[in-house]
């Protein structure tokens, strides 16, 4: 092909330059790994979270990236399964060599992978609850008690109901909320008369609901994600039950058919972004507005709740990187711990070495869907 020595040397030089420049480009990219349940029970929320992360990355990249370095998202489906989550985490650590994890809401999967990720010194900013050893993990999730307390507040202030049943799935976050409910109910003058579990693929919850009704519950506090909220609503109607249904945070797309079944007997915990239009003006609303602009341009009126927290995870990382002027994992971790007063879309984040769950003021409201419109419950 190349008959002269010069030709061969020239070709070798070109190949070397191209290879070096590719390697340099690859080094320049800051990789964000996402372990998300794109399928399975957490699919609705984790897909939204993942799209929120991507929206934040696109927005930052359009402005030149972080300190001139572009971001790239690597997303892997853990099928809402903890074992699968460990596999995808391992793949992203060893093959993709990600620099940061912004992972979804499958708590057990994040917890199972946390020791391995910590060993690799990669910071994690999560949608889920924190793993036991949270030295390298941070969460955008408000404390588990917030969702419970808001519902108890509503029942205490707006209804005569003083006995409730708690219906929960077996995920760590749901179990945590269940424990909080049992612990704090009395401080609201409410008694938890029945605690029942279910699995995310259960086809019928009517026995659990009948037990609650028999125990005298006036309302069901459902804790958990997925279509079972719809099953619970249908079962309540089939039983002719007068109990109210108050559910934890979920995608509005799941709630709309539930509201069609139960009407004004259905309440849910909503994040500020889910009730943006009717939320009072202030820093929080401004922060949500900054996120909603690119989000709505791309996804229309799709539920912004989990996506907005995915957005927050990247903005928190950007803040930590810029503060430390470093992309090193340990520097990002240290500077995440120093973040205070950061206005995110779910609330204000105040981190510290001891506190990796930054939101400390309850941002939630209890909402309803009346005539297809989301409203703050009165």
């Amino acid at each position: 092909m190349f008959k002269t020595a010069f030709g061969r040397q020239f070709f070798a030089s070109v190949v070397s330059v191209v290879a070096l420049s590719s390697a340099a480009q690859a080094d320049d990219v800051f990789k964000v790994g996402i372990s998300a349940g794109l399928t399975g029970y957490a699919a609705t929320v984790d897909r939204a979270w993942s799209d929120g992360v991507q929206t934040a990355v696109d927005t930052l990249n359009a402005k030149g990236g972080i300190m001139g370095r572009k971001l790239e998202v690597v997303v892997e489906d853990n099928r809402s399964n903890p074992q699968e989550a460990v596999t995808v985490y391992r793949k992203m650590v060893s093959s993709d060599e990600v620099n940061l994890f912004a992972s979804g809401c499958v708590s057990a999967g994040n917890a199972a992978a946390a020791p391995m990720v910590a060993k690799a010194e990669i910071p994690m900013i999560l949608c889920s609850i924190l793993p036991k050893d949270a030295a390298w993990a941070f969460t955008t999730l408000p404390p588990a008690g917030f969702e419970i307390e808001k519902r108890f507040e509503y029942l205490r202030d707006k209804t005569d109901i003083r006995k409730v049943g708690v219906l929960h799935d077996p995920t760590p976050y749901a179990l945590l909320q269940k424990d909080v409910a049992q612990k704090v109910a009395a401080t609201y003058g409410i008694e938890v008369v029945s605690v029942e579990a279910y699995k995310q693929d259960d086809a019928d919850l009517s026995v659990q609901l009948s037990k609650m009704q028999a125990a005298g519950a006036g309302a069901v506090m459902k804790i958990g994600l997925g279509g079972t909220t719809l099953t619970a609503a249908k079962n309540l109607k089939q039983l002719g039950s007068p109990m109210l249904l108050l559910t934890s945070l979920e995608d509005l797309a799941v709630f709309k058919p539930v509201a069609e079944v139960l009407g004004d007997k259905f309440f849910f915990v909503a994040s500020p972004s889910q009730v943006y239009e009717v939320y009072p003006d202030g820093g929080l609303k401004t922060a949500i507005g900054e996120f909603l602009e690119p989000w709505r341009a791309k996804f229309g009126d799709r539920d912004p709740n989990w996506a907005s927290r995915g957005w927050d995870s990247i903005m928190l990382a950007a803040k930590a990187i810029e503060a430390g002027q470093s992309f090193e994992g340990s520097a990002i971790r240290d500077n995440l711990e120093k973040i205070t007063g950061f206005q995110g879309t779910t609330g204000s984040y105040d981190m510290s070495a001891e506190k990796h769950q930054g939101i400390s003021t309850n941002p939630f409201v209890v909402a309803q869907i009346i005539e297809g419109k989301v409203r703050i419950a009165q």
Partner: protein
């Protein structure tokens, strides 16, 4: 609600969900009777029934009945496709039955993924066939949709009984199941019987899906749990016996409900699998005796 009412209410709930398991179990029996194959894609047909009806109603604005018929036809076509593309090539190569059974499991996953790609992952539901409040008997509520499921199941069982025992096609399908080679020698078009069995089974699965979705939600991934419950129902009842599968389904539903009532939801599957093991150990031919 007193204790007796609670037990009765749980019993009614168990019977209601048991009817669904039974209806799915009947689908297993039809294919088994015609081919000796246990079709683990049966859950996918249940999913198609609910999902396709919902999509046809909401996206194509079809009335409920037309959407339901459309969904049953779609399920029948998918059933034929599973037989032609997955089972038939293996059948023609005389592979072991368990290979074909595993292939149907793979088909289940493929159908599930395709449903996810086509209609997304949002849960869907259907309105009740008749939007009436539950019948109250004392303090016990009887859901009207469950009566629809019960009545439909009994009609289907009677129709299948007549079909397999009196019609030429039904008898031919049974003959294929007993001895395919002898059936060929008798001039029975074996491949056509096999296709027909998958189509009927898929349609029955879709009917189950259409009837049960008004009582809960459906999504692309609901098929497997239903298939497992339907399979257990069919074993308890005696594999190949539609009436047995139906009774087995009710037994399964009632056992699960009583386990939740007395022991808690964590014991629901323990109770179901214990019942299955008991039958496998002490009466493997099931309540009514297997067809083989």
């Amino acid at each position: 609600m007193d204790n007796i009412s609670l037990v009765l209410q749980s019993l009614i709930s168990g019977i209601s969900i048991g009817c669904v398991y039974g209806l799915i179990g009947i689908g297993f029996c039809v294919i088994y009777n015609a081919s000796g194959i246990v079709n683990f894609a049966q859950g996918a047909f249940v999913m198609i029934g609910g999902m396709a009806t919902s999509v046809l109603m909401t996206d194509f604005q079809l009335p409920y009945a037309a959407a339901a018929i459309g969904a049953i036809i779609i399920a029948g076509i998918v059933g034929a496709a599973v037989e032609r593309l997955v089972v038939r090539p293996l059948w023609n190569r005389n592979v072991a039955i368990f290979v074909m059974i595993l292939a149907t499991l793979a088909a289940q996953i493929v159908i599930e993924r395709m449903a996810y790609i086509l209609v997304g992952d949002q849960p869907k539901t259907l309105p009740p066939v008749s939007d009436l409040p539950p019948m109250m008997l004392g303090g016990v509520a009887v859901n009207i949709q469950s009566l629809w499921i019960l009545a439909s199941s009994l009609i289907i069982i009677a129709a299948l009984n007549v079909f397999f025992k009196t019609s030429r096609t039904g008898k031919a399908m049974r003959a294929v199941s007993i001895n395919a080679e002898a059936a060929v020698l008798q001039g029975i078009p074996v491949s056509r019987m096999l296709t027909l069995a998958f189509v009927i089974s898929a349609m029955l699965g879709a009917i189950a899906g259409i009837l049960l979705t008004p009582t809960q939600y459906t999504a692309f991934n609901v098929g497997v749990p239903f298939a497992i419950s339907g399979f257990i129902a069919a074993i308890i009842g005696g594999f190949g016996r539609p009436l047995g599968a139906f009774i087995g389904g009710i037994a399964l539903g009632v056992i699960q409900s009583m386990a939740i009532l007395e022991l808690g939801a964590g014991f629901k599957n323990v109770a179901a699998l214990s019942l299955l093991l008991l039958f496998l150990f002490f009466r493997p031919s099931g309540l009514l005796g297997s067809t083989r």
